[in-house]
């Protein structure tokens, strides 16, 4: 019973850990970008201050916005937070491990995205519609690729449940696996597209020709905007955690680990997330944004890579059997 209580507390700790670090992760990326372009950049805590400011401000609603427009931000935040809290970060023996399934994660993210796209069209402005249609185009290409990546890993590990996958990978000897390399590239491309990063979307622009995510959030203000911004921060952490969990799970506490192993796992996880955030900043500075109509080719590349990954995994399994 004590173990159950401990794992419950650890799950809760992880849930609040991802929420607490989310604005800072985006802050690191912004800071790296600013330093590399010879600007000073906002302090790392700017994300928290922005959220606080938005929560305090009044909400301005469009005249014909319905109840859906007002409730969607909270639902989007909730879906994203649940998804981010389920991905194993520091340990794999947590309370809700049974729910941490890749397919369930894709469904949760998809639900949040559908809500945002619907809410964006609710106010009836043109930009919301543009943003929604572009977001759906990106999603229709990114989701199959995500599922194929998950299936590639599941092919090797025999399960789609993330904690078991992570444990399987930790216990494997280090090997050269071309299918994992391809799946990694595919998942990174998908993560860039899903988080509205360069080259698919520029997260800091409000130029109407290019914006995707910002076009959908354009009508929001005050605490609603704070919810959507927080969901965006969480989504970045979610994808970084997912990539870490699937491809670099080393250092994660085992299923029967105690508080000490969890603490070590948390420190290693934070180090890995910081490195990923810095790498994202360097990547964004070193590449230009694509035209919207080329995004389908870029994401098609992710689909091709993940498909090849699963084909190669299939081939090596059939040949070695």
């Amino acid at each position: 019973m004590a173990a159950t209580l401990e794992s419950f507390l650890a799950q809760g700790a992880q849930m609040f850990l991802v929420l607490a670090i989310a604005p800072a992760v985006t802050g690191i990326t912004r800071r790296v970008k600013a330093r590399l372009t010879r600007r000073r950049g906002a302090p790392l805590l700017q994300g928290y201050r922005d959220l606080l400011k938005l929560v305090r401000k009044d909400v301005v609603l469009a005249e014909n916005a319905s109840w859906f427009f007002r409730t969607a931000p909270y639902l989007i935040f909730a879906f994203t937070w649940v998804a981010a809290a389920l991905v194993p970060t520091m340990a794999s023996g947590l309370m809700f491990n049974w729910a941490a399934d890749v397919v369930a994660l894709v469904a949760l993210i998809g639900a949040a995205r559908a809500l945002l796209a619907l809410a964006a069209m609710d106010a009836g402005t043109a930009f919301g519609g543009i943003g929604s249609s572009r977001e759906m185009m990106i999603a229709s290409l990114a989701e199959p690729a995500t599922l194929l990546v998950a299936l590639t890993i599941a092919f090797a590990a025999g399960t789609t449940r993330l904690p078991e996958v992570a444990q399987f990978l930790i216990n494997q000897p280090i090997e050269l696996r071309v299918s994992f390399a391809l799946a990694f590239v595919a998942l990174v491309i998908v993560a860039l597209a899903e988080n509205a990063r360069i080259p698919v979307d520029n997260p800091i622009t409000h130029l109407e020709l290019t914006m995707v995510h910002e076009a959908m959030a354009l009508e929001y203000s005050g605490r609603h905007l704070a919810m959507i911004e927080a969901a965006g921060y969480l989504k970045l952490v979610l994808y970084i955690s997912l990539i870490i969990c699937l491809f670099l799970p080393f250092g994660m506490a085992p299923i029967d680990g105690g508080p000490v192993a969890w603490a070590i796992g948390a420190v290693i996880y934070l180090a890995k997330v910081s490195i990923a955030a810095v790498a994202l900043g360097v990547w964004e500075v070193s590449i230009a944004k694509m035209r919207v109509f080329r995004v389908s080719e870029f994401l098609g590349g992710a689909f091709i890579f993940s498909f090849l990954a699963i084909l190669l995994a299939f081939l090596s399994r059939e040949v070695l059997r």
Partner: protein
Amino acid sequence: MTNAYSVAHFLAGVMLVCSFTLLYQDRIFAVLNTFAAQAMMLSLAVAWQGYVQNSPDLFITAAIAFGLKGIVIPFVLNRMIVRLGIHRDVDQVVNVGVAMFLGLGLTCLALLLVLRVTPGAASFTREGLALALAIILLGFLQMITRRNAVTQIVGFMSIENGLILAATGARGMPLVVEVSVAFSVLIALFVFAVFVFRIRESFDSVDIESLERVRGMQQ
């Protein structure tokens, strides 16, 4: 054994990815660089087979692949492009998305076919044959989807890469055959070069489509 297998699998898999990149890429110099990368991966794969199978003649094959297809042929094609003055984009008959999906279909076909046909063979052989057949079919697809003569040549050369990969996986291709194949490819390159320049002289373009309108000796 598994380690030896996984390195061979990795190198052959990267060659397959290079084939897809050749199909995807529409800038002519990038096509050449990808082709050179594929040839270098081929030479690594052949050298690894030589090390694993303990047969030194495969190292000669690897050296030929590296020198001829990794360096000489891309260099010659590069000079050709510069002299032809075609640094522009490669135009395609079908669009990139359709070509990629056709390529995926062909890869599935190759894998399923080889796995079905060779149930008793050694794992290296099946692996090599399956990926080599995929690379060969992708080379054919590249020759079909391109209209530019130079990228068609690259497609032809990548078919030859696939053939060498199949031969080394299958064990026991004599060195004489390999050397003669390498030199016939080199001769083919010169024939292609002469042809491309003749085509350009006749039509002011290396677009193959202009050949379709030729009906006999009209000039």
